[in-house]
């Protein structure tokens, strides 16, 4: 049972690689971006998993309550900002995909490459 304390990290590994698979194996650019989104969510999970302390609570100090155990606030701060930055950069990726669609008429990577090859 002690070994299941690592289950969060195993989920992290699986999610990371599912996202990575979508990025490298899929040809559709929107699908690649969704893969990147899963990839970054896996990293968020890794950080937030590390903040947990047994018997702890969210790091908000209550007056008059002594001997509270708090989970670690630092990973939370890092990921809190990273989520919002993540959506902004995803939006930038989507904007590039929209421009690719307008320039090539497709968002499949192999079709875009085929067109580039024919032009050369």
């Amino acid at each position: 049972m002690e070994l299941f304390g690592l289950f969060n990290y195993w989920t992290f590994a699986v999610l990371l690689m599912i996202g990575f698979y979508a990025v490298i194996a899929k040809s559709n650019h929107v699908k690649k971006l969704i893969g990147l989104y899963i990839f970054q969510s896996a990293v968020f999970l890794l950080y937030i998993t590390m903040d947990k302390v047994d018997g702890g609570t969210a790091p908000i100090i209550q007056e008059g309550v002594a001997d509270q155990i708090f989970s670690n606030p630092i990973p939370q701060v890092l990921i809190l900002t990273a989520i919002v930055v993540g959506i902004s950069t995803t939006a930038l990726g989507l904007a590039i995909v929209i421009r690719i669609k307008e320039a090539y008429g497709t968002i499949e990577e192999h079709e875009v490459r085929e067109m580039d090859r024919r032009v050369q």
Binding site: F4, G5, L6, F7, N8, T11, A13, V14, L16, M17, I18, G19, Y21, A22, A25, K26, S27, V30, K31, I34, G35, Y37, I38, S41, F44, I48, D51, V53, D54, G55, G56, A58, P59, I60, Q62, E63, F70, N72, I74, P75, Q76, V77, L80, T81, I83, V84, S88, T90, A91, L92, L94, A95, I96, I98, R99, K101, E102, I107, E108, H110
Partner: protein, 329 residues
């Protein structure tokens, strides 16, 4: 400590991720992404990260889905079959997964209080926050004051990404077709003929915005702050433009207002930092803002959180409108 409910949620998360990658229908994939984010948000909450859960719920389940759907409307909603086989990436990914899982056996178990991550600077933050900053929420204290430089950098990244999207989608589309820059020509395809969403939405939107403001200004005491509040308010206004049409949304918040918000919030943040220098302290040192250092910290955090909220809200709305305003090429 092993939490069976958390393990159930994590398993669901993995299943959802596999379903997202396997489906050929991009519309289904985007909807599943929303479910993925909601599950992730629940897991964050179980892991004591209330602030992060709030952000993930507002951003991941709300705004990401809307942006992806907007992009799908402009591109394609089905994935085509590829002419090559994908066994090589599959093998690479399988081997890497096993290596990463092997590496996790050296990690401390979940919740281990002796883990190295809890030994460094975190106890100092937890101990000194009541004395130096005087606010209950340590996450806000670290975000706004102790690591204020980081947060400012993140805010500039959001602002830069917003500018990038506007540059990419604001001009012509190569075929001489202009995007609808004129607000009166804005897209008038709305959900207004669907009675139930419209009535329920009208009831909900004021409360969503009110909740956003509560999250903004209560961030020192409970879970909340500028990042969460900005996303919640943006989500509320996006809901409004989906229900009532962009014309009315632009009437309430014109395009230039969104630009001014995206830039103004970041400037406000920087201005607080420079005010610190002008009053004899360091950049982003709020202690010197008033005679009482603790009060100065609280005022500084309040202002920079407002700056964060304004920029996040403005940038997300500007991105949403930029994608929506694009004519199909």
């Amino acid at each position: 400590m092993v939490n069976l409910f958390a393990m159930f949620l994590l398993t669901m998360l993995m299943i959802t991720a596999i379903a997202i990658v396997r489906t050929r229908d991009l519309f289904v994939a985007v909807m599943l992404t929303g479910i993925f984010s909601l599950l992730m948000s629940a897991i964050f909450f179980i892991l004591d990260a209330a602030d992060v859960a709030l952000t993930e719920a507002a951003i991941g389940a709300g705004i990401t889905t809307v942006l992806f759907l907007g992009a799908l409307a402009l591109t394609a909603d089905r994935e085509r079959t590829v002419p090559y086989s994908r066994w090589l990436p599959g093998i690479v990914v399988a081997i890497t997964t096993l290596i990463v899982i092997y590496a996790t056996f050296d990690k401390p178990r979940l919740g281990d209080p002796m883990a190295p991550v809890h030994q460094h600077v975190a106890p100092w933050y937890l101990e000194k926050t009541p004395e130096l900053i005087g606010i209950p929420n340590v996450v806000t204290a670290v975000l706004g004051s102790f690591r204020g430089y980081d947060t400012m950098g993140e805010l500039i990244v959001i602002f830069t990404a917003c500018i990038g999207v506007l540059f990419l989608l604001g001009g012509t589309n190569g075929k001489g077709i202009q995007p609808r820059s004129n607000e009166s020509e804005a897209l008038d395809v709305t959900l207004s003929h669907h009675v139930i969403p419209r009535v329920v939405g009208r009831l909900l939107i004021p409360f969503i915005v009110l909740f956003g403001l509560y999250v903004q200004f209560h961030g020192e005491f409970g879970p909340g702050g500028g990042f969460q509040a900005g996303s919640i308010i943006a989500a509320g206004i996006i809901l409004y433009s989906l229900l009532e049409g962009e014309q009315l949304a632009f009437a309430a918040l014109p395009r230039w207002t969104l630009m001014a918000m995206a830039a103004g919030g970041a400037i406000l943040y920087g201005a607080v930092g420079i005010a610190g220098i002008a009053m004899g302290g360091n950049f982003l040192d709020y202690s010197v803002l008033t005679n009482d250092p603790v009060l100065g910290q609280q005022i500084g955090i309040l202002i920079i959180e407002a700056g964060v909220g304004i920029t996040v809200c403005g940038a997300l709305l500007a991105i949403f409108h930029a994608i929506n305003a694009r004519v199909r090429g």
